[in-house]
Symmetry: C2
């Protein structure tokens, strides 16, 4: 053993420099079944292009009403499906609402069919049957056999360019379809306008402008074929076309190079030899067709698909190698797939020339940073951005700069809520940008102007006409008569205000600190001491009569009932415990949460998750309770944090297509997994402390951007040894159940000694 | 007398430098009644902004069918109407189809009304009654009293900025309405998208994107108020709005600064004292909101309405002074109003920073020229561009460069047909860009690459899939089975091909010259020698059986019957005369044309004109016969050209709102007036010769850009003395009835001696 250890030590620095192939552990298929809402296609870290198959493109509406099934297709692909309708270039990873699905491409051969057809009869349209046996999904690469037309489809990507490789059989009727109607969360009027310009026989450019979750969104593209098409054409499905008379001067359906309309599908025809590969480079840009072309030329100058695929894998390995773990093969899959999912969103939103579209719909140029979009902040402020502060600080610095640019360009004068593609869709509650901004400054990651950042946080928090903020400021709570989500909002505003207070304190703004500390106590206004639960309050100050701790709707919450939300005071667990009757009572309430049964009627009420997404009454598939298992650390029973965490890690993250118990939520669920696997978690971002849990890895080495490494060792680690007996930081015992950010970034070693019994 | 003359001579150079106030003769109201389709609002020469009242904004459709009345509102304003619905910023001048009408603004006070209301009940909406007594329309200035709310509206403009000045009564409910739904040739789906950003309490920016005559058109704006509004709001009339749920986070109807949708009206509220003036600067840009703002700041930095108005008038005077005429006061009105109408279109389509949107929908920067748009070429190649070659050569040089840029950016590889706002609507027949390009090169006006220009002409003329060009090339005519306008096309292509031949000859391309001279003879294929008329030909080479020389539709023509179109061989009148049986027979056919009676059924068939727009069977209100009166010069009876011209000048151009007999067609009708008033006309642009007519002025001085002056004197001029007795150029007699372009640009004097009887 000693000899072996000796070799290991010798090898560590060597391994540290050479990259391991950790990408092999990434299984993009995890989460594609049931509620994970991930996608299996090709993407590079934080890539603007997410090139992935769509198994269906449902309409948002069915017979004039909201089509509930559309929700299942947030990521375009469902593992359960048997047909693929095409491959599109933009996807959210794990979101709970959706948009995107731009520029669907499908290869076919034989008789040209321009309708997608239905799943029950794939041969009736351009879609094709496929099977998972003939499907490969890897980091940066996706392959599938399209059974109907015997075409092998392969996809890979760079940051801004998707590359397709289609292997055709011999056919003089091979087609590539470009469907500009298709989209995710689609509906009849979602396409505001689409435009295509056939520049020559192998280059096509254009744009798609939509009115969807993002109200005003335009994506430009440039599409280059490895082989000239012999002919092409379009069909316009617009309900009505303007001034068609003059358009009759040409036959615009065939070989007509200027195409525009709201509902257009195009085809490009080829003759192919048996096993001939036709490749496509498809670049996107938020700014212009020209920029898309520039992105393409910069990122994929040639036609070597294998080289692009290799490069995508190398990019992933570079990111994945920032943490090397020693754990079971299965857990390595879970860990690196979590790393993969954590490193997809936010996405790059700058062209290679530095231009991007701002929230003011104008073209801007980044000065010294990469602009990012896709901020699912209600989710990701909790663990994903803190994780970035640790392991991707440069990127998180740029993300905060992107948020500040959003603020500067926003006529509403608010930091982003849920923003994507130069729009805010204001999804979910709170103004959690302030948490991300504060956490980045507190942890020394943000190198922009902290005074300007504080000012932006303050202005955002005083936007009185947004979701009850006016009442919140005036009364300290939001009257239940005025809002269906009054408690969620109040609790989350209170936490956010605490973040602002921390930032003010750091900048020595005592007045602001005091003001916001006071606001951060507003959670108490919704705390009903007679029941010990958060409870909706009426304008007159009395609690809402109808009270049900199990129910979400009608009780003032979103994605969580009072049982879960009552624990949402991450900024002050100590006082919450006091209000809830002390440590013992509090711990036993936590016990109840994790062991109770949530009847079906209330489960249905808790949106967005599967039955697997809950543990007792604890809802892990949604975010509001993500910190809750760590709260035992504030009681006298921290070992329960340890066992709960290990249980959640096992139950909620599995190496299987349905391995995620809820939406991955743009990486938040995955970031929870990574932190918790490593043995610590940021209960209250904005603080520089992590709360200790129970590591699931045997060991881990974090390679920090500052050149230092931080090692986590779990001695006597096993599935049964979930209890921490003692913890040493660089050889010194930790008794606080916390570790500071700076203690990690200074480099060093955190050693957990594990055992099968609580160390009471 | 001698003494007086002596003084006159002394004063001439002095007057030549000091500008006369010729703008006072401009009556923008001429042509606003009946079929002129001009507008009375404020514009500067070639200005991108045409700020003018709309008396109605009809829908293109009524009960699902084309609404014939919409045609009357091509320019938004009809003199006959009694109400004004608002003031919008873009208008075509005298067009026969339309678009534009962007950004309608209306001041109101009292109860806010956001619907425009109907003409019969103006108080039921935001429109207002007005009367012509309270209306002033001048070059660069428009004023009207809005009776309903006792508001005085005044408008002026710079190139890219409209300036409004509204004098309100005392009211705490004064409103400025910004109607983004309104438009010309409007219909439900014309607005593809509109976007408004309230930057602060006195600055608003945004854009309007439409799918109209221009398929894909976006106009950006910046709107600045002289006084902060106290509140604002919007109403969204969209049939359906996406994901409205999340939008409920704000009250988006009031004081919400990010507005987007397809059908939006906004209001801005003020408190006003009695006689308080609220001013607006409204800038537009084809590129971006930012550019619009830059245009505004560059062109109207301050708030001095009177100064902007004065400057607009000065700009007009500068242009009008390029020709000074001595004629009756009434004819001065006609002449300078014609000059005014001639100098409105094409319009500047470049921002102050040199950027513009190209036909590829990308942003381009002009290098050394101003980019123009609004090319109504079927009309304007005839006399307007030739007039520019004489009196606005720098601008016409830039216009040809704009056409070449259009070609370079056009994936269709064609020079413009009828282009506006980075689109081609391909209205009318022919490819008359080649005439404009050739004429500019032949006359030494174009300083770009002539070889590239010739190449563009050739490629355009070989676009086989455009309006029968393939058949035209293969057969020398377009089969009547395939096209309803087969003859118009063939005749016009043949003339255009002659232009290309002239250009090739100039560039010493003998092969191309021969090829295109051959093509230019294709008119003969539609000439039926048995009837002496142009007649539709079938694919098998036989003439169409059903033949009616009076009828337009079904006979192969557009905007002209065989009687008019049979004379359309401007490139070779000599041969046409021969084919028609010699000079005598030809002259008597011309006589018949001018004296025949066109029965009502055939008049209805000839589109776009009023009864006043015809002289016998000669249709002056449309363009195809504009050269016809000059054809007597090729016979032995040139005096008939002289009398006909004088008669047309009198009949077709009057100092009255209904003074124009047909659409002014972006200045073509006016250019005809100017040339003909001066005594010469370009029968075949592409040739350097003008055909002489009968001047209507007593004298005229043309101040050329090269610093030289050219004087026309008509000795013994009077209404009765319409016949030219002799003509001297610099003292030497002209016997050819022609004058060369170079003879004018060399400077000098053309002296007509007039008499009451033909000089046979």
């Amino acid at each position: 053993m000693k000899k072996f250890l000796f070799y290991s030590i010798l090898f560590i620095p060597f391994i540290g420099h050479a990259q391991q192939d950790l990408a092999k552990y990434v299984k993009p298929i995890i989460g594609t079944q049931k509620m994970g809402h991930t996608y299996p296609g090709a993407v590079v870290p934080f890539g603007a292009v997410q090139l992935s198959p769509e198994t269906d493109t449902l309409s948002y509406e069915l017979n004039g009403k909201y089509n509930g099934d559309v929700y299942k297709y947030c990521a375009g692909y469902r593992y359960e499906d048997k047909t693929i309708v095409g491959f599109s270039h933009t996807h959210f990873s794990g979101s709970g609402h959706s948009d995107l699905g731009d520029f669907l491409i499908m290869p076919t051969q034989g008789k040209l069919q321009l309708n997608p057809g239905v799943a029950s009869d794939p041969k009736g349209g351009f879609r094709s049957a496929f099977s998972h046996q003939n499907e490969v999904a890897e980091a940066g690469y996706y392959k599938v056999k399209l059974d109907d037309d015997h075409i092998l489809a392969e996809l890979t990507a760079t940051k801004r360019v998707g590359m397709h490789q289609y292997t055709f059989p011999k056919s003089d009727q091979s087609h590539i379809i470009l469907d500009l109607i298709a989209g995710i969360y689609n509906y009849e009027d979602k396409n505001v306008w689409t435009y295509v310009r056939v520049v020559n026989d192998s280059l096509v450019t254009g744009y798609r402008q939509t009115n969807g979750w993002a109200r005003t969104r335009t994506v430009y593209f440039a599409m280059s074929f490895s082989k000239p098409f012999v002919k092409y054409g379009q069909k316009n499905y617009d309900r009505k076309q303007a001034y068609k008379g003059f358009w009759g001067k040409f036959d615009q359906t065939k070989n007509f190079p200027e195409i525009a309309g709201k509902q257009i599908r195009m085809y490009f025809d080829f003759k192919t030899e048996d096993q001939e590969k036709v490749k496509i480079k498809f670049a996107i840009s938020p700014v212009s067709q020209e920029n898309a072309l520039e992105n393409m030329r910069a990122e994929i100058p040639g036609w070597d698909f294998e080289q692009v695929k290799k490069q995508a894998k190398e990019e992933w390995n570079k990111e994945l190698n920032k943490i090397t773990v020693n754990t079971s093969e299965d857990d390595k899959v879970n860990f690196y797939t979590a790393m993969y999912h954590a490193f997809i969103n936010p996405t790059v939103y700058t062209d290679v020339n530095g231009q991007y579209k701002g929230l003011d719909q104008g073209i801007h140029e980044t000065k010294g940073f990469t602009n990012y979009t896709t901020f699912s902040l209600w989710d990701t402020y909790r663990a994903l951005h803190p994780f970035f502060n640790l392991i991707q600080p440069s990127r998180n610095n740029d993300m905060v700069k992107s948020m500040m640019a959003h603020y500067d360009q926003n006529s509403l004068k608010m930091l982003p809520i849920w923003s994507h593609y130069a729009n805010d869709n204001w999804c979910m509650s709170g103004y959690h940008s302030v948490s991300v901004v504060t956490d980045a400054i507190i942890k020394g990651v943000y190198n922009g102007d902290p005074e300007a950042a504080l000012a932006a946080c303050i202005v955002t928090s005083n936007r009185r006409d947004y979701e009850g903020i006016g009442d919140y400021i005036d009364k300290g709570f939001i009257p239940a008569e005025k809002s269906g989500v009054s408690i969620s909002n109040t609790l989350e505003y209170a936490y956010d205000d605490w973040c602002i207070a921390q930032l003010a304190k750091k900048l020595n703004k005592q007045d602001i600190y005091q003001e916001y500390m006071k606001r951060s106590g507003n959670w108490e206004n919704n705390f009903d001491s007679s029941t010990g639960f958060m409870r909706a309050k009426m304008a007159d100050g009395t609690f809402q009569k109808k009270f049900d701790v199990m129910s979400t709707h009608g009780q003032g919450f979103i994605e969580g009932n009072s049982w879960n939300y009552s624990f949402f005071v991450p900024q002050n667990p100590k006082l919450l415990i006091e209000r809830m009757g002390g440590k013992q009572k509090f711990a036993s309430r936590l016990d109840t949460l994790f062991t109770m049964h949530l009847p079906d009627e209330f489960f249905a009420d808790t949106e967005d998750i599967t039955r697997e997404g809950i543990v007792g009454g604890y809802v892990h598939g949604n975010e509001p309770a993500h910190h809750v298992a760590y709260l035992y650390n504030w009681t006298d029973q921290p070992w329960k944090t340890q066992s709960r965490i290990r249980m959640i890690l096992k139950m909620q993250y599995k190496n299987a297509p349905d391995g995620l118990g809820g939406n991955d939520d743009c990486g938040q669920m995955s970031a929870w997994y990574i932190f918790s696997s490593l043995g610590f978690y940021p209960v209250a971002p904005g603080s520089d402390e992590y709360s200790l849990g129970s590591p699931a890895v045997k060991s881990a080495v974090l390679k920090l951007e500052n050149g230092k490494t931080f090692t986590v060792d779990a001695i006597n680690q096993s599935d049964k040894n979930v209890y921490v007996q003692k913890v040493l930081l660089n050889g010194k015992a930790i008794t606080t159940h916390t570790i500071k950010h700076g203690e990690i970034t200074d480099g060093g070693k955190l050693t957990f000694y594990m055992g099968s019994k609580p160390a009471k």
